[in-house]
Symmetry: C2
Subunit: 446 residues, 2 copies
């Protein structure tokens, strides 16, 4: 294959060091306030590091009067965020509104069209409209950056797009949602049910009033789509990603995981296979010896497998005022220093539409838990079903009694294709001795 080089000429120059770089911020929640604090508290440090001072000059939010603990005097106030794009002195617009469409998307389009750089912490926006916005950025010689959209304060996108840019990445695996990891950690430590921990997390402010995006894996999916896009040079693709959250994880599965040498984590994963790119969000059993297994509470972590670098791991706070603002400011600094390159590491026009691996073609090992009537012949029925699908078992535990009578039978399979594992599950469900829908959890050994 001949080398196809798509060239972009960035016209942004570093010569204009006499004037401060002016930032407009849309959205003054905790992250927006954090950005203002960093730019204020570290003004001297940043002007040394950048060779130019960086100043907030305009802001937009819903309520002008609210006390946010930072002084907004001297900033131009915009009731409509989109106005930020048309303020002449604004060099960079920082979008912290959220949501894949609506005002965030409108602001992104307006900003990039005027050739200003656009920085966002909005994973939904980039996961859904990333290719369109990357194209717009290139057409207008603007920079589009979104470090804060994935894994909060961890510079994972920079590591992937720059630090590991010499590698062909075969896969990456991340704990990308702090709320889910916090819930799973407390379920394990305190032996509590999912619903109880969720209710408590909501009371403490660790989970949103509407927790769907977090616990059903959608937030993790947005971040996974962005990571996969940079790793593989493809457009972010939410449409072909199977997504499963942690609602159905039961304390008994957490206990069995531990007994089998695993811990359950909600993972976003992306890997190349011979049959297509597999991107997926699943609650998975991870060996206790794996780096990701020991990432607890609200901490995030990502493992990247590069062909030359080998695996590298990045761990840190996945959310919060300081960490997220730290990544937003890193993007601002990059733009100010003139470190510009295409949003997903390669020109938007050359982002590939890589075929997705269908979920049922996933090859892996599986944990299956059944609640059965404790009667003669049960094991014969189960093993017959396994034989019919040629699935072989690595380990099997039958012990004690389950609640509401019955006993648990827990097994882990050898490597098998997902369609077979799902067939097995159907056979099991149909057995008379099986008392409830069986539980299946994927095992990820990376």
């Amino acid at each position: 294959m001949p080398a196809v080089t798509l060239q972009i000429e960035w016209n942004i120059t570093m010569s204009d060091t006499s004037n401060p770089l002016k930032v407009g911020i849309a959205g003054l929640g905790t992250v927006g306030v954090g950005v203002i604090k960093i730019l204020r508290d570290h003004a001297d440090l940043l002007s040394q590091r950048v060779g130019r001072s960086i100043e907030v000059c305009a802001v937009s939010a819903r309520s002008k009067g609210r006390d946010r603990g930072v002084d907004l005097t001297g900033f131009t106030w915009c009731d409509d965020a989109t106005e930020l794009a048309s303020i002449g002195e604004v060099d960079i617009v920082v979008e912290l509104i959220g949501g894949s469409d609506g005002p965030a998307l409108a602001l992104a389009r307006e900003t990039l069209k005027t050739g200003k750089s656009f920085i966002t912490a909005n994973k939904a926006l980039i996961a859904v409209h990333g290719k369109e916005l990357a194209t717009l950025a290139e057409e207008n010689n603007a920079s589009l950056r979104f470090e804060a959209a994935v894994a909060g304060g961890i510079p994972i996108l920079k590591s992937l797009a720059e630090g590991l840019a010499g590698n062909d990445v075969s896969g990456l695996y991340g704990i990308l949602n702090g709320t889910c990891n916090y819930i799973l950690t407390r379920m394990e430590r305190e032996g509590l049910a999912f619903a109880d921990v969720l209710a408590d997390a909501q009371r403490l402010g660790y989970a949103e009033a509407d927790p769907t995006f977090d616990i059903d894996g959608i937030d993790t999916a947005h971040k996974t789509a962005i990571l996969a896009a940079i790793a593989f040079g493809m457009a972010p693709d939410m449409d072909s990603m199977p997504i499963e959250g942690i609602r159905n994880i039961a304390p008994v599965d957490i206990d069995y995981a531990q007994e089998l040498g695993y811990r359950i984590k909600l993972l976003g994963l992306a890997r190349r296979t011979a049959d297509g790119v597999e991107t997926r969000v699943i609650p998975a059993m991870v060996p206790l010896s794996a780096s990701l297994a020991n990432v607890m509470d609200a901490t995030n972590a990502v493992v990247v497998d590069g062909d030359f670098s080998g695996p590298t791991v990045y761990v840190g706070a996945g959310a919060g005022e300081g960490p997220t603002a730290s990544s937003v400011v890193a993007d601002i600094i990059d733009v100010a220093r003139g470190n510009v390159y295409p949003a997903f590491g390669v020109p938007a026009a050359s982002l590939q539409n890589l075929p997705a691996l269908p979920a049922d073609k996933h090859s892996g090992t599986y944990y299956i838990r059944l609640r059965v009537n404790d009667q003669p012949g049960v094991m014969a029925d189960i093993t017959a079903a396994l034989a019919r699908e040629s699935v072989s078992i690595e380990s099997l535990i039958q012990r004690g009694t389950a609640p509401d009578e019955g006993v648990y039978i827990v097994m882990t399979t050898h490597q098998t294709v997902e369609s077979s594992a799902l067939s097995i599950l159907k056979h099991f469900t149909a057995l008379e001795c099986v008392l409830e829908t069986p539980t299946l959890i994927r095992i990820e050994t990376f």
Copy 2:
């Protein structure tokens, strides 16, 4: 304090995308060969990512005839590495010779003087001559980069100088030498003495024939000096760094560490204190729950404490052909993309000479092990010595017999200043009941 902004105008442009970027490589050991392999195997990928193709055009090494498993046809051969600097078509010189002075330093100076960019994996060169070379780079509009000098394939310098550039870093802590971590890991797992594991490591190629730089902490010190320079905006300072290696770590201390909830790791650490910057290399007891405690074998890891980001952790291979070459190529890509900024994150002229914290002013907790005659009054002598220095004890273990008679007494102190801990040690040594020089190991809880 008014903002002091030192401005540098980089004249490097991104407009010259029509010609390939030409690289000259000095040193064709494993890393040099790795760089050639990446640039060859990923030529298409890299030209997409950079917008320009990257080609090796000249090489230099000691033996021209040696088979290195890569084709050198078409590369200009230089017997003298310094010649690479004067080859007109060379845009970037990659130095993989090693050593703080001699040909590596000569090549660095020549390259930067001609305005070509200089990329190196040479930690000794940068730790010793970093400020001079950074100045030379700026004076000549050239880029000086050395990602591969610290922690192999982990993009830690980029994370620090770019990804965390919005933060004031209060401290960083790293396992930076794979050989030492490998030796400590095997001592623990196999219960072997230091000398035995070292001999075996040398036989297996995990340790050099002359292992001094590694096991006595000098390699870790070079890397720590570089990390501190970027984190704190100071010139790399090897002169005021206390350095201690792992030669004196005994299996019995590894056992006691575990009993007390710690693991012994050779750490490079750098932190700001009220009395100066503390940079230091020490074998330290680290809580088993800390991220660094679980970094085993030859793996490297760095924890960075940013004031807004919170702690972030970076883990990966610290050496080897692929990982080190991956970081060298990341630097080449940065230069090719035009991502240029001062070598240590701020202009060389503004690198501070921060006062160093004298070693005996370190404040921390300590592990002390004594071998004593098992006779009446021993404990009274010991506690009297502690009282004299007002050092209080957190835990104390006296149990069993030590080899060659005597018993071990092991204690950990509460927070105390190092001068007091060292005085205690002197008192202990002078006691008649104490049979050998006491062992002191610092405890680091970060």
